[in-house]
Every structure is written in C-alpha cells, then in structure tokens.
C-alpha cells in the first residue's frame, strides 16, 4: 500500500531546504519534516535520493523529488489551485528561472569566499559578491518582490539571503548588502523578513537557549574547525581533529551558515548541542 502524505527530508540550517518549506506553507500543505544529520545520512534519505544523496528531498505519496528549485516548481504544479508561485507568462517564467540559476550558480559562488577569506583578499571578494548581487538586483527594479507585488518563485529561491547574508556579514566582519551599494536588495530584505511563511520557518538568529555550532570543515579539504580569535567577532581555522581543540578556548556561539547544496566544497556542518558543557565533534 503506497504511503500517503508529504515528507521533507532536510537539515534545519539549510537555506535550500527552507525553500521547500516556504512553498509548502504558501500552499497550506501539511508535511512531516525529517531532520537529517548530514554526517550520518539516514537510510531513507539515501533510498529516496541515491543519485546526489542531498537534502532537500520531498516525498509525496511515496514518490521522491530532489533539487530544491525543481521541488518548488513541482509544488506549484501539484497544488495548482493554491497560492501562485510561478509567474503565468512564459517570458516572465523564463526570467525567473534565469535569475534563480544565476543566483545559485554565480552569486552563491561569489558569496562563499567572503566567509573564508581574510584581509585584503576579503575586500576583493566582498566587492565581487556585491557586483554579482547588483546584477541580480536589477530584477527588483520597480518592484516590491522579485515576483512583483507578491512573494514568488524567485523570492523563494533567493529569499534566504535576507536572513543569512547579515549573519555572514557579522561573522566575517564585513558589509555586503548596504544602503549605498545595494539599496533595492536591502529594502527587499525587509519585505522578505515580513512574509509570514518566512517568519514561521527561519532558524533563530539571536537565541539565548542555544544550539552552538562548531564548524568541523570539509572532510575532503581538511579545512578544520572555525574557532574564535580572542574576544573578537573573527574566527580562524584550527586543525580538524576533534579532541585537539584546547580547553582554554572560549565557548562561542556562531550562527549556522547553511551552506549545503549551493556550496559543495565547504563540506558538512555538524551540530553540537552545547548547553553548559563543551562537546566537541
């Protein structure tokens, strides 16, 4: 007997997963959310997405779909009488898909180095990230959302910037989306953060009850853990082996930078729950 209902396999910090949740919630579709430990993927996930093994995966009545932007279009097509996600006009649809691809391929690749670069190299990558976003910003001209008056497909695809870019800026000690450089994008951030489905689903930014995240780096690249530099807001790399980390380092809470699907070379995040004691992973 075929299983019924909607499941989302995700990782709570992933901006790609959140796209799927936004789309489902816009349509008023109930779903079961299954959180994955990406360092130890479930059999179910591997069975549903054996080809890329990534989250998000949507399982609808037992049938899996992978790739977040594709899932969003699927949701719009299946629940076609609900909220309209894709534009109706073929040219507008092509434009929305074009910019979604541009954002995922070019902007994400331009943003990621901001997080890992330091010093002079960092100002260069910040500038490049801004250039990329300025190109994308053109699609906002004269509009409240990329979708026009209403939150739509492209807003769903890039809306994660509104929450995650300020976090990246804070952790990296830079400014990317400013009033001077990217006024339309900055204004759009406010619009995005006011959308109900966005508010319902964003992981907490400033949360005192805390999960603390230790970035253990890419297994392939051995980039190591990110540990704080003294009492500053800056972080530096530390050898990758858990257990080498010295006891004397102050405990820091860093926000999750959910680079998963878009930033393939950053590797995996491990979530360590650190309430009152230190737990290294």
């Amino acid at each position: 007997m075929a299983e019924k209902g909607v499941k989302v396999f995700g990782m709570w910090a992933s901006p790609m997963v959140i796209r799927v949740e936004w789309a489902l919630r816009l349509k008023g579709v109930a779903y079961e959310y299954i959180d994955e430990d990406l360092g130890n993927k479930s059999d179910a996930l591997l069975r549903y997405n054996p080809v890329t093994k990534k989250v998000p995966v949507l399982v609808h009545d037992g049938e899996p779909i992978a790739e977040s932007a594709i899932i969003v279009e699927y949701i719009d097509e299946v629940w076609k009488d609900g909220y309209t996600i894709m534009p109706a006009d073929p040219y507008e649809r092509a434009q929305a898909r074009f910019w979604a691809k541009y954002a995922d391929e070019k902007c994400n690749a331009a943003i990621f180095p901001v997080f890992t670069a330091t010093g002079e190299a960092q100002s260069k990558v910040v500038h490049e990230a801004q250039q990329c976003l300025k190109t994308l910003e053109k699609a906002l001209e004269g509009k409240k959302f990329f979708g026009g008056d209403a939150f739509g497909y492209l807003d769903i695809v890039v809306g994660w910037y509104a929450h995650w870019l300020p976090i990246i800026e804070e952790v990296s000690g830079v400014s990317i989306v400013t009033e001077e450089e990217l006024p339309l994008m900055k204004a759009w951030f406010d619009q995005i953060l006011a959308v109900d489905v966005v508010k319902e689903t964003l992981p907490p930014r400033d949360n005192t009850s805390r999960k603390t995240l230790i970035y253990t780096g890419s297994r392939a690249q051995g980039q190591g853990a990110l540990v704080p530099v003294g009492n500053t807001n800056r972080y530096q790399r530390f050898p990758p082996t858990a257990g080498n980390l010295p006891e004397s380092l102050p405990r820091q809470r860093i926000e999750v930078l959910g680079f998963l699907e878009g930033f393939r070379d950053i590797g995996l995040f491990h979530i360590a729950s650190m309430h009152q004691k230190r737990v290294w992973v």
Binding site: I65, E67, E73, E77, V78, A94, K101
Partner: protein
Amino acid sequence: MMSPEKQETAAAVRVLGRWPSPFVIRVLIALRLKGVEYEFVEEAMGNRSELLLASNPVHRKIPVLLHRGRAVSESLIIVQYVDEVWASQAPAILPSDPHARAAERFWGQYVDDKFPTAIRVLRGKVAGDKDEAAAQVAAALVHLEEALVQCGRGKGYFGGDSLGYLDIALGSHLGWVRAVERMARVCLLDAAKLPNLAAWADRFCAHPAVADVMPETDRFVEFSVNNDGVPPKAAHTNSK
C-alpha cells in the same frame, strides 16, 4: 524565396548560436519539434557580436533565443520557454504529469552537472584528467540508463513515445560524446552495458527534428581538431 508572411514569421524567432554547441542544438531541436520557423544567426568564433552582447549581457553566451523583441538565455530555460509559448502545438516537450516533469528536470540538471566539463576535458579544450573525465561520463550514463527505463517506461524515448525535454538535454551531447570516444579512444556509451541508451542514441540522432541540426561525428571531430588546440594524435610531436 520565402513569402512575406513566412519571412516575417522566420524573423520573429531568431537563434544566436554556433552549430557545434550542444546547448544551441537543444534550442534548434525544440523549435523543430514544434514546427516553429526560425532564423539561425551564426556567431563567429571568438568574436561576440553586438547583438549577442546586447541580448545576453549577463553571460555573453550562446544560445540566445530572440522572440517578440525579447531575449531568452540558458538552453534548458529556452527549451521550456519554447514548450510553453507553443503549448498548443504537439508534441509537448515536458510531460504533463508534475512528477514526471520534476524527474526530467532533475536529470536535465544532472546532465549539465556531469557532461559539459568532462567533455571539454576529453576534447582537449581544457586541461584535465581524461581518465577521470571519461569515468565521470560513463558513471553518469549508468544512472541515465536506469532513468531511461524508468522515465520512458519501455518506450523509445525518455519522454515515452515522443522525444522530450530529457531526450533533448542528453541527446544534444551525443555529437561530442561520439567525437570524444573516437578522439580520446574511450568507450563511453557501451552498448553491452547500456543497451537501452545505445538504442536510444541511434533513435535520437535519426529523429527528423535532430538529424539536420546535429551533424555526423566526423564534423565534430574535424571541428575539434581545427579549434581545440592540440590535435588528438600529437602525443610525440613538439606541440605548443
């Protein structure tokens, strides 16, 4: 000599491109499938036209479809656009069932993740490990053999009875796949291991919408020899 109406219609749809590009080939196949008349505007090698730069300022790449005074870029996006604009003309390029559509889009993206760079390496157009590139293509084809059986459900194409989106996405690479098999002396589409795909490949290449826009393997090999740098048999010569 075209009638004035046909001339107007033909000029109404233009494709900027170059014949060896699999991405351009995709667009041409889609238009031919729909019976849409178009003008092919050939871009010169290594010299982007003003029209291209104006039509695709973001990427400055071919193909670009010009229709109703507007430009559409990115081959698979163009294919979907063609499917949607000429929705009333059979055949449908994407299937109507949402799950089948999502599956074809997934595999289309997969093809673009796995094939273009690997093929460029195998052509010798970019530096890279040819063995690794060949292994990547071969592994991808194993997955696609399975996908063909699942999506096509025993019929001739990924799209079932008729050639569709995923057929176009993958099939457009066949010209170069066959060319690099010859030039790099590798077997990528092994008929013994991938019987369904092998049969599909012949069927695809012979399809009326494809045959005129995807030339014989010889032409691809010749193009590569003339344009991609070191010729295939240059192993022991003093090459630059």
